[in-house]
Structure formats: structure tokens, C-alpha cells
Symmetry: C2
Subunit: 378 residues, 2 copies
């Protein structure tokens, strides 16, 4: 059982037992003019904030993530999604840094979103929740960061949608960020990425339980959400990883039964996702993803002309969902703006999900990027 | 309006107006021991069978295809799926060759399948139709070929599932095929390919109208089938093609409306597919695809040790659904068996669907492959 010590049961370096907290702000005005009132932000922190408040790292999660980035909730066997990289002595070293991790608005894991109570009606927003953008998510995070009295974040880091948030931070708050780590990400979704999200949304909309978003929990559009997750899940894995993971069992069964290991695996992924995610949130968050458009080429170069921090951009050869060319667009636009940027393309075979998985090269690269800036300060 | 001349309205070389015919055989015994009784095969032919019956080319269609490979049905604006390559003076030259094109069994476009009448009950089979394999599809085609009195096919050709059938022909009937053209195909589906098909099947099964396959036409599982088609359609296109085709329009609309051109396109693809395809067929045919296993490596080499024909294997760099490595497995196993094989990887940017699209290089390669064998004969 993990303890509050720096050693969990396996002897690995862990932040130990953690709990998600909630902070409530009076409101947040969104880019589209609408207001979330009150603004609730679910978050976790690891490590200690320095007296100068100069050692804070904000981590941003991906589509199906949440505030629980590291350590263990009481009773859980599995740690937070980025536990491989956050902890004492890990790449994002909680012996040095104060790590803040919050749930995005529009999500369904504690922060304001479709499941939150609408202050006006007293009922869950559901599909009356306003559209949010990646920039809105960042503005919500900014309130939390300021609440801690932090003027300048030592770093913002994230993969996939988390990388988009990190990039947006550097644009929205150029004076408030020293370092920016963007992994397996993009400045703008391609038509293919939008297409996969659209299929997921259409699967939810096609579920007869969807009821224009006004469904009850008991009769929620589980099948539609499970299908959306199945499609998404294929895109997070590489062809190579799937070949290794799933052999070919002899075919069996009738027209309705699944007779391939990969099929059963996907069905399981879909069904378990329904227990931990909300269909409306899936729509809101994928819409935010698809609408994120810092652009490419000249448009991106212009957008990034305001940034002032250092960048680490990481891509994965086997990531066919967020392919390296998208990271290279960001790198190019930063370089045209003479912004310091380190780029690396790692050949982890695991596809898009690689940024979450243990990898000594990746660990070194992140650690060294952070420490080389840290040592300049102190 | 296309005419029976060799010129259609655009002046292109066309086989002109064609119609799908039906032939009924007493029965077909499947590999699994079950019987289809009677066996109906929908087919079209183009060109003339030579007196020696030595100029026949069998073309095999892909998942959502049918017997209509070339020319125009009366009243249609669009020609058959492979009209770019079949016709007078085209790569598969109907001035020289007699082209046979049939609908696979298990399909829904005239050949025995879930929509066919069960000889015993007088009602459509629906989900009581037996499972079929790619080998069964080939055995059904063999009956048609023999019906024409053709002992040896000059060639068998196909892309995607059509390529799998062509490969199976060379294994099932090694003495009956002279040349084999396999495009954008594989000897065995990877876990990723199975995964995409499984999502499509699950979408159909999740549709409340599915009713274990016993649905009426009026209340068929249209939404599930449309979703399956949407997912499939993304896999047939390349990222590059989608980027060119779909710009980014400014986002608009509410949570339920689609605000991206690619989203509207996919929804249209899904909805129009429902008008021309059957959900049960989708399950039967994708199951046949996923169960096709001539294997890879040693297993494939052993399976191909019986083949006697010449091969042309074509892959596309941008085809991430049936990537070139799968074609190269076939090539390798043929080479180990000292079977003559020409391999080419074309860099059409259009992804998996490339084999259907006009391309001068592809046209030459196919034409020359066929003619070099034809000239040897006569």
C-alpha cells in the first residue's frame, strides 16, 4: 500500500498518497463572452512551493485525463497518469519543484463542466454549459496559479491536449512562463484529427440515450461514449505496438461475438471508459481540441511572436495521430522568432501514448531541460 | 449520356452501358461445412471471351464494392468503381481481355448474402446466413469462371479485399491462374486493421435497430452502419489528402452541430453509404477480412509454396491502412519460393484509396505486366 513516504510498495520514487482538492473562484469570463459562475477548479499539488514562489511547474492533461497526474489516491492500485515522470528524483522532480495539476474546464473530473452545478439553476449544466476553448482552459488555470501567489511559472508542461495548453500558456501569458514543454502535440488539428473526433462525437449523438445532452446518469449514452473511446484508443496506439500486444487467436464464435483479442481489448477499453468519463464532456473537450488554431506557417509564426520562454518540443516517430511534422511546425515558427527551442523525435514504438510511458531517454531530456534552466536561476 | 460506343460523353474510353447479371448454381459448400443453397452470383462482363477462352481476367472488389467495376448502369452519372483501369485501351484493356467482375458472397449487391432468400425458409437469411471466408468467396467465383468454360484465367486482379481474393486464387487454384495482381493489400490483417473493423461492427451492434441482425429494411441500423462507414472512410484517406481537401472554416454552431467541413463530409459519406449497403453484410464481409490468414513469414512462405502464376504487387507509401510492409511480406514469401514477382511502391498521396484513382504510372505498370505475359502467349 503506498504511504506518504517517498517510497511506494515497489520501492519506486512516488509522491505517495495524494488527494484532489477543489478551489472555487467567483467566475471566469470566456473568450466567447459567456461566463462560468462560479468557477470550480479541481487540482492536486506535489512538492513544496519555494519561499520565492519560483519553482512551480504546471502540468496540463490530455483529453481523457484529469488533475490526478501523480501519486495514489487512497485505495487505488494505479497512480496518476504521469506518475512515470512526476515524483521525487523523477524527470519533474518534486524534491525541487512544486507541481500543480488541474482538471480542465469542460471536463468532468471536478472542474467546472457539464456535470457541474449551474449556479443559476442549481442543476447540472449538461449541454447548457458554454463552449470552452483551449485558451479558456488556460485562463482558468491562470486563476489557480495566481491564487497560489505565483507570478512566474518555472514551467508549463503537457502532452497531446496538454501540449496545446502549454503552447497557449506561452502565447496568453508570455511574461508568466519561463519554460514550456510540449509533447506529442500540435498548434492546430489536422483534418484527420478532427475527423476522428467527429466520428466520436457522432457516435455519442447517435446514441438514443443522448437526448441532446440532457441525459440522466443512469441512462447515459454509454454505448456511444464507449464507441468514441474505442476509435480514439486505436489512434493512441501504433500499428507496431498492436502487433506485439495482440496475437491472432483462431477465429471462433458467431456473428455477434467478438473473436479477436484486440476486439475484446477495445470493447473493454470502451466499457471501462464509460465509468470514468462523461459523454457531454467528451463533446466539449474534443470541440475545444478541434477549434484550437494557433495555425501553421506564417499564421503560427505571427502567433508565437509574443512568446518569451524556452521550449522543449518532443515528438514520436510512431505517433501517427500527432505526427512529428506537427511538432516541427511549432519548432520552425519558434526558430523564425529566434525563440530558444530544443526539438527531439523519439522512436518509442508505442505511438501517441508514448509520452506517458517510462523511457529513460525521455526522462533525461525533460530533466535536463528543466535543470539547465533551474541552475541558471539559483 | 454514355452510349454503347467506346466513347462516353467525356470522350474517355469506356465500356459504355453495362448491366449486372445473375447466375444461379445449385449450391456451394463452404470451408466450414455449411452450404449456401442455391448459390447466386451477380456479375458483369466487359469485352469478349476469345475462342480459346484464354483471355479472361477476373477482377475482385473491396469491402464496399460490388460487381459493377466498369462502365455505366443505365441512368447513372458515375461509372463502376474501377472504370479508371478497365475499358478499351485502358490498363485492363477490354479490346484484348474478357473481364469478369462478380459480387462476393456475403455481400449485399446481388450475390448470395444476408439479403438473399434462404432457399429453405423463403425469407432473407439475415443473420442466419453462414459465415464465409475469403476462400469461400473465391470458390464461388470459380464456379462462375468454370461456367464460362474457362479453364485458366489469364489474370486475377484486385485491390484491398480484392487483392486478398487474388492472392487466395493463386493458392486455391494454382493451375487455373496465369497472372495475379495484388494492390494495397495483405496476406493477413494486422491487429490495427482488425481493430478498425471491430469498431465498425460494434457500432452496428450498438444500434438499437440492429435486433441481432433481424431488422426490417425500414428500421435498419442506419446510424450504426453510418458510423462504421465514417470510421472506415477516414482510414481510406491519407492525412495529406485530407489536409488538401478540407480547409479549416471558422468554427461555428452549437454543441450539436458540426462545424468542420471534414465533419460534414464524413457524415455525408456515412449517410449515403446506408442507402447502398447492408449492416449484416458489413459484419459478414469484415469478419471474412479479419479471418483471412495466409499468415506472414514462414507461414506465408509455406502457404505460397503451391502457387504457379506471375505476380504484380503494388503498395502505396501514403496507405497507412494497408501499409507497404504488408505487401513486402507477400513479395518476400513469393521470392523465397522463387515465384516471379514484380513489386512497386507508388507515392500517390491519396492513401489506401489510391488504387482506384487515375494514375499514369499505375496504368502503365498494370498494362505492361499484363501485356508482357499476353505477348508470350500469342
Amino acid at each position: 500500500m503506498p504511504t506518504t513516504d517517498n517510497q511506494d510498495q515497489s520501492g519506486e520514487r512516488s509522491v505517495g498518497i495524494v488527494e484532489t482538492k477543489l478551489f472555487t473562484f467567483p467566475s471566469l469570463t470566456l473568450d466567447n463572452g459567456e461566463t462560468i459562475k462560479p468557477l470550480e477548479i479541481a487540482y492536486e499539488t506535489y512538492g513544496k512551493l519555494s519561499p520565492n514562489k519560483d519553482n512551480a511547474i504546471l502540468v496540463c492533461h490530455a483529453l481523457s485525463g484529469d488533475a490526478h497526474a501523480a501519486g495514489y489516491h487512497e485505495g487505488d492500485k494505479k497512480p496518476g497518469y504521469w506518475d512515470n515522470y512526476i515524483g521525487p528524483g523523477k524527470a519533474i522532480d518534486t524534491n525541487l519543484f512544486f507541481v500543480i495539476s488541474s482538471n480542465v474546464i469542460g471536463g468532468c473530473k471536478g472542474s467546472s463542466g457539464p456535470l457541474s452545478k449551474n449556479g443559476k439553476t442549481g442543476k447540472p449544466y449538461q449541454s447548457s454549459f458554454p463552449f470552452v476553448s483551449i485558451a479558456d482552459m488556460v485562463n482558468a488555470q491562470e486563476k489557480l496559479v495566481s491564487h497560489f501567489g505565483i507570478e512566474i511559472l518555472f514551467a508549463v508542461a503537457g502532452g497531446s491536449m496538454g501540449g496545446m495548453q502549454a503552447l497557449q500558456w506561452s502565447v496568453s501569458y508570455p511574461d508568466r512562463v519561463k519554460n514550456c514543454i510540449i509533447m506529442a502535440s500540435t498548434s492546430e488539428h489536422s483534418a484527420q484529427q478532427i475527423a476522428f473526433n467527429e466520428v466520436g462525437r457522432q457516435a455519442i449523438l447517435a446514441d438514443p440515450n443522448y437526448l441532446k445532452g440532457e441525459y440522466s446518469f443512469e441512462h447515459r449514452p454509454a454505448k456511444g461514449l464507449a464507441l468514441a473511446r474505442m476509435v480514439g484508443h486505436i489512434t493512441y496506439l501504433s500499428d507496431e505496438l498492436m502487433r506485439e500486444k495482440f496475437g491472432r487467436k483462431p477465429p471462433k464464435g458467431n456473428i455477434q461475438s467478438t473473436d479477436f483479442a484486440v476486439g475484446s481489448y477495445l470493447i473493454y477499453q470502451g466499457e471501462s471508459f464509460v465509468d470514468r468519463f462523461d459523454a457531454n464532456s467528451y463533446i466539449y473537450v474534443t470541440k475545444a481540441l478541434d477549434h484550437f488554431s494557433l495555425g501553421t506557417g506564417r499564421e503560427l509564426t505571427a502567433a508565437l511572436s509574443v512568446v518569451k520562454c524556452r521550449f522543449l518540443v518532443v515528438a514520436y516517430t510512431s505517433d501517427w495521430l500527432y505526427p512529428p511534422y506537427q511538432s516541427l511546425e511549432i519548432v520552425k515558427s519558434l526558430e523564425v522568432n529566434a525563440i530558444p527551442v530544443s526539438f527531439v523525435e523519439l522512436n518509442n514504438p508505442a505511438g501517441h501514448d508514448s509520452f506517458l510511458l517510462p523511457n529513460p531517454e525521455q526522462e533525461s531530456i525533460i530533466r535536463d531541460f528543466l535543470l539547465s534552466s533551474w541552475e541558471e536561476i539559483g
